[in-house]
Symmetry: C2
């Protein structure tokens, strides 16, 4: 039994820097045709020089995969940018990622007051630069996304031509917004289609399933899953694969994020097969993103077969999602 | 500045066995006049012989405190008991603790179907043996207590003379039940008056604040705090202090429970002082329990002064609540 995906795209990916970048980049470069690279480094990727340098490091880290197709779709970290800066950056970036200050890993440099940066939104709207947002308030952890939704609504109304993506949505309410604002889109991770808070803290505490935004309630997971299985036309796959060394996960005060990059495609096929929705997977992991953002991903054909994939316990010092398990599907050919 | 508490009672305490018992027992024996000792050992304390043996071990573990006042109030682990068993146990036990199977640490031997054990409830009601319940379903982690409330209501109605305590309540809804059923009581921990899920998983993941039932929403915490500050006549302090070695806390799959025993009284005084409710603390930590259960605790006068208490980073291999912090209040004299 086999299944083929054309040009899969990861619309939300963390590659980090240095040794971690070198470790994890090939794993995505192998399976995906392109990936949106998150700019929340320290310091953030908030100028063209740093962005081009980061892109070079990613290209170098692809290593053995340098000959293969893989486009890092570069993102600037949101700050107030001048028109000259945006004009210079335009051809090098896919979009700009906005973090409310302090909302997640390395977001301390993020935005504190959205109404003070509207000039930049207006420029982005005029120039057709997409805005991606980590949409969480600083409220109670289970309410942070829901509390942020009015911000999305305000922005969508105020800048009707600005393409706004709600990144890694986790709630039923966020899914509901997709049908109410023409210019609102969303990405969703693999893990938020599968886990709830129960998996993080319902039995023993599981730091390897701790992420931001935190996994929510069963009815939220169900809404996300149904939208993904239906390949909702405004929803895109974005793994939010976020590697942390095990020393930062199995400790007091563990870092947020799941490392899913090497298992995304096998598990997506497993999930969509289980729900008889394999026909919609191509749109969810590639087609929707290309249509929404009007680009053509480089051709890459990924074949999966039901031959079993033994997930390693570790990739270096990073524990992947479903470490040690045997997944039914494995990537067996890439061309 | 000083504050004195007469005969403080901890209505919900875990002492464990062996080396852990020896380590933690003196810490409660020093500060408290009496404490209800939870029976969820492996195997559980579900027969008189084991209970009397366990009591001996506790007495021995008091060590240097053997001359001081401290009554371990022994509990049987709920199972179906015959009338003869209950008659033999009656004078040696304070009550019987019921765990739904699998709800928390070492509860695998708990009850699977409540309607099959009603004979024992009827005997307990007839003999005036209090029933203490860990009230959680196996549902979504934030809903488990709320989903269990109808069980409390059914039991309270069906056995109107059975004294039922909802142990370590964590929700506003549970507080609400206290005023609706004459025979329903509750204990509440120190930590559930202070923390919410935000403290466990809102920033970095904090395994040392992970407990069962898990800390809930801000409005739940507020309802619990207000009931405690008002010394609600049906609410009793029960620390649920639950020591785990650090190797079981700072790891993948950390155990549930906070070790609060050595800091309960200083932090309770801090909390009640902050909310101008010191006048009600005596009832909350002692008076209510004695009135509700109709017993007189041995006399013990605990004086606290605002001299500062440096909380150790560890007691042996156990990390206490607020480890390393300096608390404003310290226990300075016990007589």
């Amino acid at each position: 039994m086999e299944f083929t995906i054309q040009s899969p795209i990861d619309m939300h990916l963390h590659l980090r820097e240095g040794a971690m970048l070198e470790r994890v980049t090939p794993l995505t470069a192998e399976h995906f045709s392109a990936a949106i690279i998150m700019p929340n480094l320290v310091p953030p990727v908030d100028n063209l020089e740093r962005l081009l340098q980061y892109r070079k490091e990613i290209e170098a880290a692809r290593g053995d995969h340098a000959g293969e197709v893989f486009d890092p779709l570069m993102m600037l970290f949101f700050r107030q940018y001048s028109e000259a800066e945006l004009i210079a950056a335009r051809e090098h970036i896919f979009g700009i990622k906005l973090y409310p200050a302090g909302a997640t890993t390395n977001s301390e440099a993020g935005v504190k007051a959205l109404d003070e940066v509207e000039e930049t939104f207006a420029l982005m709207e005029k120039m057709g630069i997409p805005l991606m947002i980590h949409g969480e308030t600083h409220g109670f952890v289970m309410d942070r996304e829901k509390e942020f939704l009015p911000v999305y609504e305000n922005l969508a109304e105020k800048f009707p031509k600005l393409k706004i993506t709600m990144e890694h949505i986790t709630t039923r309410d966020a899914v509901g917004l997709l049908d109410r604002y023409e210019n609102l889109y969303a990405t969703v991770t693999l893990h938020h289609l599968v886990i709830t808070l129960n998996d993080v803290a319902g039995g023993l505490l599981n730091p390897h399933l701790f992420c931001k935004p935190i996994a929510k309630r069963p009815e939220d997971r169900e809404a996300l899953l149904q939208a993904a299985l239906a390949a909702h036309p405004k929803l895109m796959f974005g793994s939010d694969s976020a590697p942390h060394p095990i020393s930062k996960k199995e400790c007091c005060g563990c870092a947020a994020g799941l490392f899913t990059a090497p298992v995304c495609l096998p598990i997506l096929v497993e999930l969509f097969e289980k729900h008889n929705a394999l026909d919609n997977l191509q749109a969810f992991v590639s087609g929707n993103a290309q249509r929404i953002h009007g680009f053509t991903a480089a051709s890459k054909t990924v074949k999966l077969e039901k031959l079993g994939m033994q997930v390693p316990e570790r990739y270096g010092d990073v524990v992947p999602y479903r470490a040690g398990e045997t997944l039914p599907w494995a990537v067996t050919d890439i061309s």
